[in-house]
Symmetry: C2
Subunit: 179 residues, 2 copies
DNA sequence: GATTGCGACAGAATTTAATACGGCCATTAT
DNA sequence: ATAATGGCCGTATTAAATTCTGTCGCAATC
């Protein structure tokens, strides 16, 4: 008896948006989600149960979508990272393309605005496995061409950060935008 | 008395590589790292302490680099995702570029092989914040140009998967490669 | 080929943390 | 003013993490 009763959604207590303390909590948990609520409370200035309550609310509201272990790619034999741009004939042919999401080497699929249609983030064991993936892509109906960017070095790779982004002051020589 | 004694590293028991059970464990924990060792053990066919021991070993060996909450980007006011390609004058100027890793909107920094030098994954509140980031990039010495791919829709985005990638059989019409 | 050492596991015991509960305070709405 | 609400703290209870001990199987050794 938590989410709903008899299928009737309980009227939630107005999903208050994340405040400064929530951001601090997220900041701690994004670095290490294994900390105890006691330590989490200490770090953000709350008692353990209060910290727990906050985290529960963040989970309920969907701000925290889940908790996952971060796997070293090399440990699971996927040392090769690449970004693949895909050009397609129209947007309609995506369903077949979505089949690639079944492959464990595909980590991200986006449609983008720019000089290409789609963008994939893939991780493979070696260049040969990447070639196999590209071969499968070319077999997919609708795919006209691909461009691959093989990662040489990764200098930063981290999950979504809770840190707020400061506003950009328009330079003096530029006119203030309407929007 | 776990990692080392008096600064002398203990000779570890040969970091055995991940086996099938380890992969199943990683598969469970990458979906939900909050499961108890009791349930984890059930799912992979081990007793709770045995599962615990496995996870501890995976952590020690570095296969599990950490545990993190997955934050909904919209909840922290970062609904806009973009990939930014950066062209630089030579590779030497990267140190100044690395300063962008301080910005919370930058999630990934890679050097790549292809028609560009570097690739950034960034998440901002809106197009204006992205403009601000690009402005800072252009101020960075060594940066000659950028190309941005604004994500329209994300169809898949997940952490490193433990799933093994099957080998690609060379098509009949292709010669077998030397390597 | 028997033996000894080692690594992995299961079951029980213990310690620690997660979770639930009751009361207090501040803010808000009536 | 006053009642209601939401958020917090301190405590109590429950559940899980962690430790300990013994057993089993495997492999290297003699």
């Amino acid at each position: 008896m938590d989410e709903e009763t008899d299928g009737i959604p309980l009227n939630r207590p107005a999903p208050r948006d994340v405040d400064a303390i929530d951001r601090k909590i997220l900041g701690v948990l994004v670095d290490d989600a294994t900390v105890s609520y006691a330590e989490l409370g200490d770090r953000v200035g709350l008692s353990p149960p209060a910290a727990h309550e906050r985290v529960k609310r963040l989970r309920r509201s969907g701000a925290i979508r889940g908790t996952a272990v971060i796997i070293d790619p090399k440990a699971v034999k996927k040392p090769l990272l690449a970004f693949v741009h895909i050009d397609t004939r129209g947007w309609g042919k995506t369903p077949e393309l979505m089949a690639v999401s079944q492959y464990p080497e595909v980590e991200e699929i986006h449609t983008v605005a720019g000089d290409t249609c789609m963008l994939l983030k893939v991780r493979t064991e070696d260049t040969r496995a990447l070639e196999g993936l590209l071969a499968r892509l070319y077999e997919t109906p609708g795919v006209t061409s691909t461009r691959s960017y093989v990662v040489l070095s990764t200098y930063l790779e981290r999950p979504v950060q809770p840190g707020i982004t400061e506003k950009w002051p328009t330079p003096k020589h530029m006119a203030e935008p309407l929007y």
